[in-house]
């Protein structure tokens, strides 16, 4: 039995910024613009593999903002078992430090199973060797935490075109 943190896809009405968050910071406006920059035509699914609650919730909210259906597990073994049970995803986002099986090993096993999808390593950066180690396991993109809109939007756009 998996320890899943399921969430249903929602297309959220972003609406206009309320007075609560009027913030004359150009960075905030840029982020808001990125949130409405694309409207996905496809129903995309993403698996998040991260043992940290804050990071998991942040990624979930980012993806849900674009209507991506998300599923989450908090350890490497559950991620492998899920993939091995023929669950299919457009996108897998994986952290390096995980309980049971680390992210590098999970990525290798996912490749061995033959799962074809976009894989992002999103991890707290600890040096070039870590980046190279992940890229050697065939992840498509290595992103230093946190997953940001500037990286995510082009990836979602690409997946939506496929």
């Amino acid at each position: 039995m998996f320890n899943l943190r399921k969430s249903m896809a929602l297309t959220l009405p972003l609406g206009e910024a309320s007075d609560q968050d009027k913030w004359d910071n150009g960075g905030l406006e840029r982020k808001r613009q990125l949130l409405i920059e694309i409207v996905l035509r496809s129903r995309l699914t993403a698996l998040m593999v991260d043992g940290d609650t804050t990071c998991w919730v942040l990624k979930q909210e980012l993806l849900r903002s674009y209507g991506v259906q998300t599923l989450g597990v908090d350890n490497g073994r559950d991620a492998i078992d899920l993939i091995a049970s023929d669950a299919a995803f457009n996108l897998i986002i994986i952290e390096k430090i995980l309980p049971v099986l680390n992210g590098l090993e999970v990525t290798r096993q996912i490749c061995e199973i033959g799962m074809r999808c976009k894989m992002l390593a999103v991890t707290a950066y600890s040096g070039e060797s870590e980046r190279q180690a992940f890229l050697a396991t065939s992840v498509d993109v290595f992103i230093e935490k946190p997953l940001d809109l500037e990286h995510l939007v082009p990836i979602l756009r690409e997946l939506d075109r496929q």
């Binding site: 959220l12 009405p13 972003l14 609406g15 309320s18 007075d19 609560q20 968050d21 009027k22 913030w23 004359d24 910071n25 960075g27 905030l28 982020k31 808001r32 990125l34 949130l35 043992g51 940290d52 609650t53 804050t54 990071c55 919730v57 942040l58 909210e61 980012l62 903002s65 952290e95 390096k96 430090i97 991890t123 707290a124 600890s126 230093e144 935490k145 946190p146 940001d148 809109l149």
Partner: protein, 155 residues
């Protein structure tokens, strides 16, 4: 002319700007603000609470690992990695920098340096926590006032 300083929203904006200026918060906090959920205006406050609880747990585990006669650097590195990740997500810039410096000392297996830098991590966490708690409180007041205002509106 600048908006009245008694306006709660302006006070919150000014406070966040000050936290940016002092390097306590960075652009990643802006990303949180952009994600504010219409259906759940308390989303940011809930996330702040989540971060604070998790960070305190990581700090407790690092404290234990550092206190051992044979320091467990592996545990320190692992918990620090997670603390760095969640701190970067919440936008805690100075605390994140402190974690990075501690990571170098842990990689080197330098206990004395770890002790010194871990003190700084804890100081920056306390600063960040106070900042985030203030933001949570101000947001709660704004949300409550907004709710009361809506109830007073004529049907």
């Amino acid at each position: 002319m600048a908006a009245s300083s008694t306006d709660p929203t302006q006070q919150l904006n000014d406070y966040i700007r000050t936290m940016h200026d002092q390097g306590i918060l960075d652009d990643n906090f802006d990303q949180l603000l952009a994600l504010r959920r219409e259906q759940n205006p308390r989303f940011i406050n809930e996330l702040i609470s989540m971060f604070t609880n998790d960070a305190e747990a990581y700090i407790a585990e690092i404290t234990n690992a550092l206190s051992l006669i044979e320091v467990n650097f592996s545990t320190i590195i692992s918990k620090l990695h997670q603390l760095k990740g969640s701190t970067s997500g919440i936008g805690g810039h100075r605390m994140y920098q402190a974690c990075c410096e501690l990571r170098v000392a842990a990689d080197d297996g330098d206990k004395d340096r770890c002790d010194e830098l871990f003190l700084r991590v804890k100081e920056e966490f306390n600063t960040l926590k106070q900042c985030l708690d203030s933001i949570s409180q101000m947001r709660s007041n704004i949300i409550s006032n907004g709710t009361r205002s809506r109830r007073r509106r004529p049907l």
